[in-house]
Amino acid sequence: MRKLIPFAAALLSAAAIVSARAAEKTLVVAASVFPQSLQTGQSSFASLSLLEQTNESLVGRDNAGALHPGLAEKWEAVNDTTWRFHLRKGVKWHDGKPFTAADVVFTINRIVDPQVGYGLLARIGQVSGATVVDDYTVDVKTKVVFPTLVRGMSDIIIEPKHYYEQVGAQGVIKKPLGTGPFIFQSYTPGDRYELKANPDYWGGAPKFDKLVIREIPEAATRVASLLAGETQIIEEVPIDLIDQVNTSGRAKIDEIPTSAGLILTYDVRKPPFDNPKVREALDYAIDKPTILKEILKGHGELLQGQLLTSSALGFDPSLKARPFDPAKARKMLQEAGYNFSTQVPITTQSGKYVSDVDMCNVIAGMLNEVGVKATVNVVEGGVYSKISIANELGPLSMVAWYNLGDADFASVWFTKGGKRTVWVNDDYEKFFAMGRSTNDEAERVKAYHQMSGVMFEENPAIFLFGLPSVYAASTKIAGFGAASDKVLRLSKVELK
């Protein structure tokens, strides 16, 4: 018996070593929606979030939206229409082949080819093409001055030229190959995306072995999976489940403002909203701070009389949201000769933005308080896109525009060229064009401040809230941060 004990101990410790070696560290993340395939260039954050696990952009972007070097170490404008990118050396594709300028030129020229139908083409829409300067230097040419190129490039993932030639476009979609922190293993749409850590990642190997991203569309199930310990990070926590997560002791909410500005757009072509005074009056009738506090439970930011969220380049800190003043609203309406029997439906989708229908209901209620006969008109997504493109959304409609960190991306929707608005203002057009026609940041910011000023006076829309991006993470992990652009950044996560 005595002899057996050391033997058993030896056996146990051997088993312990074996099991420790076998115990792979796996991080499981629950996403709210999956794309049906891993095709690049789909115009959705859900798609980009999966693709950026394996592939990278020349320009990196952090959770707050700030840019930093990615596959390019630095870049500069050579002249008004040429940007030069200096590539990182020693980066390898997951199959061991070196990453070079040829890959970048291949990727960009493929995207600008209209035959390819790249969904994110608009991000670098003014690019005419790219050329190799040497193995690690690329010149990107633009048709006109294009100050948002660098920011746009942070959404464009670089793809391997040699691999396309080997397996073709469909082959790349089936089995993506990148330079990023994780290596593709398998993808089952509607179920799971499996990856393993890239031990040779130039940005430092991840500190766990396997990454599994699961699609769990139902929010309550997503939260349950986190609290049950099946997942360690979940996306898109609805406002009403935030408390359940925070009081569980097993997970914590992690949130950050997105760059999405939620607004109510007027149809300024028709009475009563062809009158700027009427449009301004309604702005006083809506108690935005209360909606933010009661419906969004304080998550999100109050838009300060402008389309832009406070983190965007071009945000004007001198503008402030109009205060809630129903008496003033009513007085202004009377002075403007407002017809109080007009029906004002507010058009919205359901579930497109957090608590969208609830917010519209409360806003309609507040408008009724000042005598405006507002109702809520909920339409389904297909109908919405149809009437939106036809510019027939009705007198008031709810929408959110992402500025992606730069005023240009959101402001374009109020220009004639953007085609989404029926409001036309020559000064606005002028300032927007000014912001676009120079690479000088200070000049651009000045133009955008003037542009926001025009909007504040003219009120083509009621500016409501900057929407939050709400994640939750298990207390057993560290190094994760909520992303303002809804792209998962996981290479620095540690499992405790």
Partner: protein
């Protein structure tokens, strides 16, 4: 019997045709793919290319006939959302759905019939009261709510089962129970009613008068005669089960046809919706055919 099957088989394509036509019509009428798939900065060339690819410049009926011609050749078109063949997405989703439906249907039928038999025999006694009221409770429980409740209790509180996803056998338990709960009460109540109806029939009274044991009467005389109404009921319920799988799969993140259809409808991906609906209708048509055949086997009168 063969004639019955032949007649049924002849109707099947007609049913599929009708279903596909209605779906095609609804999808085309409620939204133009050009508006949905090309953003506002679209070029006229892009519009022309998509219009040509989908034959949108032709009359609706011609578009449908072109679609039928392609389907007859096994081509369900490419997904508008991601470009790959629509049929691929559907084929990968069929397996999980069949698995879930099989488990749920077996659960509902076996437990429902056993429960119904017990309730019928114990009519107006305690067991009947409990079973019948449980059935009514189950019937009135929305599956969405039940699913969340099951997750909260069995996955979160007791940690016996996983919350969601597909993997080993443990994953199928909660979604199968949720789905089965849509049908189980109905099976129980239908079985109970059928047996109670039969109990007052002459042949049962005779059997009882002959002194046969209650179990013998139940298994040899009552149950075989109750089979037929149960089978026709089963045939109708396959459709209900399919509909239920849409909600259940969404709650439990089960990667099946139901979830695929929700996502495809949400993205207005007509080819994927149509391909999925085709397979769902095919399943329902086949299920009712099998039920017809079984009924013929059980009841010789139907064979004529």
């Amino acid at each position: 019997m063969l004639r019955l099957i032949a007649r049924r088989l002849a109707f099947a394509p007609l049913t599929l045709l009708l279903v596909s036509f209605v779906c095609f019509l609804v999808l085309r009428v409620t939204g133009n793919p050009v508006d949905i798939y090309l953003d506002i900065n679209r070029t006229p060339e892009q519009v022309a290319a998509l219009t040509e690819r989908l034959h949108l410049d032709r009359p609706l009926l011609i578009q449908y006939l072109i679609y039928l011609r392609d389907v007859a050749q096994g081509n369900f078109g490419d997904s508008l959302q991601y470009g790959g063949p629509a049929i691929d997405a559907v084929l990968t989703a069929i397996g999980p759905t069949v698995q879930l439906l099989t488990v749920a249907l077996s659960l509902a039928v076996v437990l429902g019939v056993i429960g119904g038999l017990i309730a019928a025999i114990q009519r107006d006694k305690l067991a009947d009261a409990i079973l019948s009221s449980l059935a009514v409770t189950g019937q009135s429980m929305p599956s969405f709510w039940l699913g969340i409740l099951l997750i909260q209790f069995f996955a979160l509180k007791l940690q016996w089962l996983p919350t969601s996803g597909r993997g080993e056998w443990r994953h199928v338990v909660l979604p199968a129970i949720t789905l089965a709960t849509i049908l189980l009460p109905n099976f129980l109540l239908v079985t109970r009613a059928a047996i109670i109806d039969l109990m007052s029939e002459q042949f049962v009274v005779t059997a009882r008068a002959k002194g046969l044991s209650p179990l013998h009467i139940l298994m040899r005389h009552l149950f075989p005669n109750a089979l037929n109404p149960l089978l026709s009921f089963l045939g109708i319920q396959v459709g209900t089960l399919m509909a239920g799988s849409i909600i259940t799969e969404s709650i439990f993140a089960w990667p099946g046809l139901g979830r695929l259809m929700v996502s495809a409808v949400f993205h207005r991906d007509a080819p994927v919706v149509l391909a999925a609906v085709f397979f769902v209708s095919l399943t329902i048509v086949l299920a009712s055919l099998i039920v017809d055949i079984l009924q013929g086997v059980v009841d010789p009168r139907i064979r004529q």
